[in-house]
Amino acid sequence: MEHGQRMTDGRKRWLLLVGAAVWLGLPWLVFGNNYVLSTLILIGLYALVSTGMTLLMGYAGQISLGQAAFYGIGAYASAYLTAHAGWPSWLALAAGAVLAALVALVVGIPVFRLREHYLALATLGFGVIMFTFFKEWKEITGGLNGFFGIPPIRIAGVPLQSDLQFYYLVSLFVLAGLWFAHNIVRSRVGRALRAIHGSEVAASSLGVNIMKYKLQIFMLSAVYASIAGSLYAHYVTFINPDLFGIVPSIYFLIMVVIGGTASVWGGLIGAAVYVCLGEWLKAVVPLLLPNAGGEFEIVFFGLLLVVMLIYMPNGLTGVMQKRMRRFLEMGGRQEKQIAAVEGHKARSIGGERG
């Protein structure tokens, strides 16, 4: 990685190496169990979306209640362009990402003039409108019946069909996404975003072009979501509009809140906790309440959301970051400088009050 020279600290490098080894070796640990692999793939896809949202909510301090719309744009762009227009899957994925970025730009210009309640509402409205289009634009999306027969993704002509191959593909995207987010946070853009989060008025009076940075990060989060959507479409080969409505948008929000926005890892941690908890609830609750059907797990996620925001508003990364820093500080002197930079990281969702 390019920022290697910053990591002169040995412990940090070891930690990353161990993490990478676990991630790459995980399929062998579970003996290629397909259920576990597909769960891991889902975590990876959600992690991409929520990493983008973490940047948007944690660093730019903007709330988005319609993120699943971008996930849907990527999924339908890939589905339509590969299945009906015969495009190569990578080109379709890129086209979906460009489309999502353009939609984010067009929507973002008026939306980010709003704040707080109105911003939340506008993104919600955007989500509902996009959902309606996924549902009603039947020539492209297949409507409520769904879109069938999405071809698999190909690398050098070889179709990726097994879960194991897809696991590595998705994990590469997640690593790239995390690395990119990490660099964004440490760049000039990241500093500007934290300034916006701290106080928009102060940032703009210091010459930070608030609108530009908010838009850029919104477009970036749209691209993350769109790529995840494209990969999802190729992975399951069947999509329908319900996957991209308001409730999925709220699920992405829940992941970001669980993970917290104190570091770029929040998205991955939130997605992992969300998916594992969801699978566990689906396995356990029907044993206790035999007639529980449908999306009953929303009770628990709703409670979790309320309790986390009241008692742990910084999410899991907020708690972990403190311990982590203590652990790393035993290792090197360099750490103080990095800690000084990271001490200014985003603290909670939403920014200033008032």
């Binding site: 506008a122 509902v128 409108i129 309606t132 308001i246 009770v299 996620f301 909670s348 009050r353």
Partner: protein, 293 residues
């Protein structure tokens, strides 16, 4: 003549839906005015009210008593929600409070799902299945009930805010919370009261609409969001304008469904929301414009 009767039909269906949205939107306005919170769980109070009422009626409770009891029950739920979820997070940023209300909405939906399941329920109309015929259009008595009940509620609320001591205290909190506190008005109690009253209004809306469109655990979200559009279109702190906004949204939806396409009606009402937000972002009410530095 055919076109005329269709127009009347759509007009009445728009007014019916509009009056439901108006009841819920009024709840939004009261909650927002007193607490500054945009309660996205508001629609779920309608769902809970409808389902409570149906259960009571099915168990032989007289209709009027069932309506009163279920409104009371939902008011208690609203009060608990305020004490357990809103009060502990009073000092959080606005975005956090919004997400908390979304979480609460999920909890209400999920509990309703566990208690009542996924099947929709029906409630019998307040007064028989008869219908009125106006210019060839068939108007259910329940639609008339919906419009009359919502208008009566607005009148009752108006009297409450202008003629009673508690109502005036709430109004004082809206106008100037700091001065109200100096006058010895307990703002925390007012916040509890505002959310409980909003919950009761929501429950009433759900009960009134249940005989027309049925009731199920997931009905709350759309009612809540539409009412929300109405409240925003009218201006979040202006009750009469919110009611007008609710009827506007109801009529717009009804005519869009009748003359254009049923599928896109949601896109149309949310498009209205975005237009209002974009072109009058701060002009909806003047207080928003002066941001402190």
């Amino acid at each position: 003549m055919e076109a005329w009767s269709q127009f009347v039909q759509l007009l009445f269906s728009g007014l019916t839906v509009g009056s439901i949205y108006a009841l819920v939107a009024l709840g939004f306005v009261i909650t927002y005015s007193v607490t500054g919170i945009l309660n996205l769980a508001q629609g779920d109070f309608a769902m809970l009210g409808a389902l409570f009422c149906i259960t009571l009626v099915n168990n032989g409770v007289p209709f009027a008593a069932a309506i009163g009891l279920s409104m009371l029950a939902v008011m208690v739920v609203g009060g608990l929600f305020e004490r357990l979820a809103i009060q502990p997070a009073r000092r959080s940023p606005v975005a956090v409070l919004i997400i908390i209300t979304i979480g609460a909405s999920f909890v209400f939906r999920g509990i309703a799902l566990l208690v009542w399941g996924t099947d929709p329920y029906a409630l019998r109309p307040f007064t028989g299945h008869g219908a009125l015929e106006v210019f060839g259009a068939v108007i259910q008595w329940q639609s008339v009930w919906a419009i009359v009940i919502s208008l009566a509620s607005f009148a009752a609320l108006h009297l409450f805010f202008h003629r009673t001591y508690i109502g005036k205290a709430v109004a004082a909190c809206v106008i100037n919370p700091f001065a109200a506190r100096l006058m010895g008005i307990d703002i925390r109690k007012m916040s509890l009261g505002a959310i409980a009253v909003s919950a009761g209004l929501g429950a009433l809306a759900g009960i009134v609409i249940a005989p027309i469109s049925g009731a199920s655990y997931d009905m709350g979200m759309m009612i809540g969001l539409k009412a929300f559009i109405a409240a925003v279109v009218g201006g979040l702190t202006n009750a009469p304008a919110a009611i007008a906004g609710a009827f506007l949204v109801g009529l717009l939806e009804s005519f869009a469904e009748g003359y254009l396409s049923s599928g896109y009606k949601e896109a149309i009402s949310f498009g209205l929301l975005l237009l209002v937000l974009f072109f009058m972002p701060n002009g909806l009410f003047a207080k928003m414009t002066g941001k402190r530095v």
